[in-house]
């Protein structure tokens, strides 16, 4: 497959009432009780550990899953662990209408794919994207489709700097080639 293409099963972060969860903050993603952990391999088991409904995600999620969350994902603290915990679980990507600035940078700099998705509210209201669906998208062009439902999705392509860091591997590797 084209290196720019990504495909995976989606997991849509809904609350008990079936609404997409917005403003998920870093204490819900990776609680401050575990901030002393410095080994990425140990971080996966705490992912979403303080988010109602989703505390079992480290057990129920599968490698390559694509998480879909509401706007302002990753609000709150600057902790890198809130990104690394998903990398540890080999989550394929996170899609949301928007991310907190620091969270987005942390993901970009560690080479973890985060992308903005458009029209999410309407998609969820119309059952256009449901946990278990398989989606496919091009990180460079933003072309995307829900393979299960045969419908197009709108994803914002990576910015040039995000794309370059992503394909270099991370900010460190990218930095070695720019000076």
């Amino acid at each position: 497959m084209d290196a720019n293409m990504r495909q995976g099963r989606v997991v849509v972060l809904l609350d008990k009432q079936g609404r997409i969860i917005e403003d998920i903050d870093t204490d819900q993603i990776f609680h401050n009780a575990h901030l002393h952990i410095t080994d990425i391999a140990q971080m996966g088991s705490y992912a979403l550990g303080n988010l109602e409904v989703w505390k079992d995600f480290p057990k129920t999620g599968r490698e390559g899953d694509i998480l879909i969350a509401g706007r302002n994902f990753g609000a709150g603290s600057s902790r890198q662990q809130a990104v690394d915990c998903f990398a540890a679980l080999k989550v394929g990507a996170i899609l949301a209408p928007s991310f907190s600035a620091i969270y987005f940078r942390n993901a970009v700099n560690s080479g973890f794919p985060v992308l903005k998705i458009h029209g999410l509210e309407a998609l969820i209201a119309g059952a256009g994207i449901v946990t278990g669906d398989v989606i496919r998208f091009d990180v460079r062009l933003g072309r995307a489709e829900n393979v299960t439902r045969g419908a197009a999705l709108k994803i914002e392509p990576m910015s040039p700097v995000q794309y370059d860091i992503f394909f270099a591997g991370d900010l460190f590797k990218y930095g070695k080639n720019i000076k």
Binding site: H31, N32, A33, L35, G76, S78, I102, N109, S159, F172
Partner: protein, 400 residues
């Protein structure tokens, strides 16, 4: 075309065109890490760069403010790993005795008007209070910044927030800030720089500017500036992505109720809610003025029996000022628990933790579910927290 404040500051630190929306390489005047994030910064640094020296050790700092002194063996190890790295490279450490890193940087004149400062603290943008571009970053970013002295950054758009009128005399800087958390939510200045104008902010002292700028993070903004009477101003013909006008005339005290700093009500709506504990401190309200206001209210009244009031000065200098002005003695006599300087109330291992069922009123900046424990946290200004601790229920000074 003229420049906004953020464009001006970034332009002064970049050879690229620092117009909003552009991704530029930016020189960093100060790069720092603390005891959250710091150990991972060191780990990343050594993994990527081995023994190589930082770009400039004199511009690199560690600030230990979260678990100070170490509240667990793991933090003791983590802090020592940072100290060892700092010693090896000749980097200054503001150790566990000094207090909140951002405040120390203001006191030490490391955060200067028009400067650029990064660190592993999402409230680094507090430095907007002194016209400095402070930005919180993760440990990959900071390791790279320490090694190279620079970072990439997308120059944010700016929003002009114009406040009309004057809040009620009972309202403190925190009340205005909480009102803005409600009105701006996490959308109106999201991912943007905010410039605040108007009578309500023009006269704010440094402590009040810190309070307002500290909660830009909770509004999902990049940073906030208060240009009037401040050291850095925007050009008259600068271009803004938005204008928000808000009437704050007669604004009464405000309280953020669970579950977020953006769910804010007037004090009157929650008055009488029983509390178990109070907390005064944090990077948002940890200045001498904040404690002096609380002391005025507590003097001669005292904390109600059965209520815990926890006091955490932002820095050692604040602690010293409290000693000199008799504030510390008044707080002690009133029954408050006084702890050494630091962040104190915001994370596990701290004095601000709540048990299941506990109701806390705090001058902190976040009350997300589970953040301080299983209890319920309300956010308010120092006057309301002090009065509530006298009454044993949420109250303002006028209720006593």
């Amino acid at each position: 075309m003229g420049q906004t404040i953020i464009e001006k500051i970034i332009q002064a630190h970049s050879r690229d065109d620092a117009a909003a929306g552009e991704v530029v390489w930016m020189d960093l005047d100060v790069r720092s890490a603390r005891d959250f994030g710091g150990p991972n910064v060191v780990k990343n640094y050594e993994q990527e760069y081995g023994e190589a020296a930082p770009a400039d050790s004199r511009k690199t700092f560690f600030t230990f403010d979260l678990c100070a002194p170490a509240c667990s063996l793991k933090y003791a190890d983590n802090q020592q790993a940072c100290r060892d790295f700092a010693r090896k490279h000749g980097i200054q450490v503001f150790d566990v005795d000094r207090g909140v890193g951002t405040h120390v940087m203001i006191e030490e004149d490391l955060a200067r008007p028009s400067g650029t400062v990064v660190g592993t603290d999402s409230h680094m943008n507090i430095l907007g209070a002194v016209g400095c571009f402070g930005q919180g970053m993760g440990d990959v970013d900071i390791a790279f910044a320490i090694k190279t002295g620079q970072t990439w950054f997308e120059v944010p758009e700016s929003v002009k927030v114009v406040l009309k009128g004057r809040p009620s005399p009972a309202a403190e800087a925190k009340d205005l800030t909480l009102f803005l958390c409600r009105e701006l939510g996490t959308k109106k200045i999201a991912l943007r720089s905010a410039e605040f104008y108007g009578e309500a902010v023009r006269g704010l002292a440094l402590s009040g500017r810190i309070t307002l700028c500290s909660m830009i993070t909770e509004m999902a903004g990049i940073i906030g500036f208060i240009p009037e009477n401040g050291p850095v101003v925007a050009d008259a013909d600068a271009s803004y992505a938005g204008l928000v006008e808000l009437d704050v005339s007669g604004l009464p005290p405000q309280v953020a109720v669970p579950p977020s700093p953006n769910t804010v009500r007037p004090l009157a709506d929650v008055r009488g809610t029983r509390i178990d504990s109070g907390f005064i401190g944090s990077c948002t309200n940890g200045r001498t003025e904040d404690f002096a206001r609380a002391a005025e209210i507590l003097k001669g009244r005292g904390v109600k029996k059965g209520v815990m009031l926890k006091i955490v000065p932002a820095t050692r200098r604040v602690y010293e000022e409290m000693l000199e002005r008799g504030v510390l003695e008044t707080l002690f006599q009133s029954g408050a628990i006084i702890v050494n300087p630091g962040c104190g109330g915001c994370a596990e291992g701290h004095v601000g933790l709540t048990g299941k069922g506990e109701v806390q009123i705090s001058t902190g900046n976040r009350n997300f579910p589970g953040k301080q424990g299983k209890g319920q946290t309300y956010l308010a200004g120092p006057a309301v927290v002090a009065a509530s601790c006298v009454a044993g229920e949420i109250a303002g000074p006028e209720d006593l």
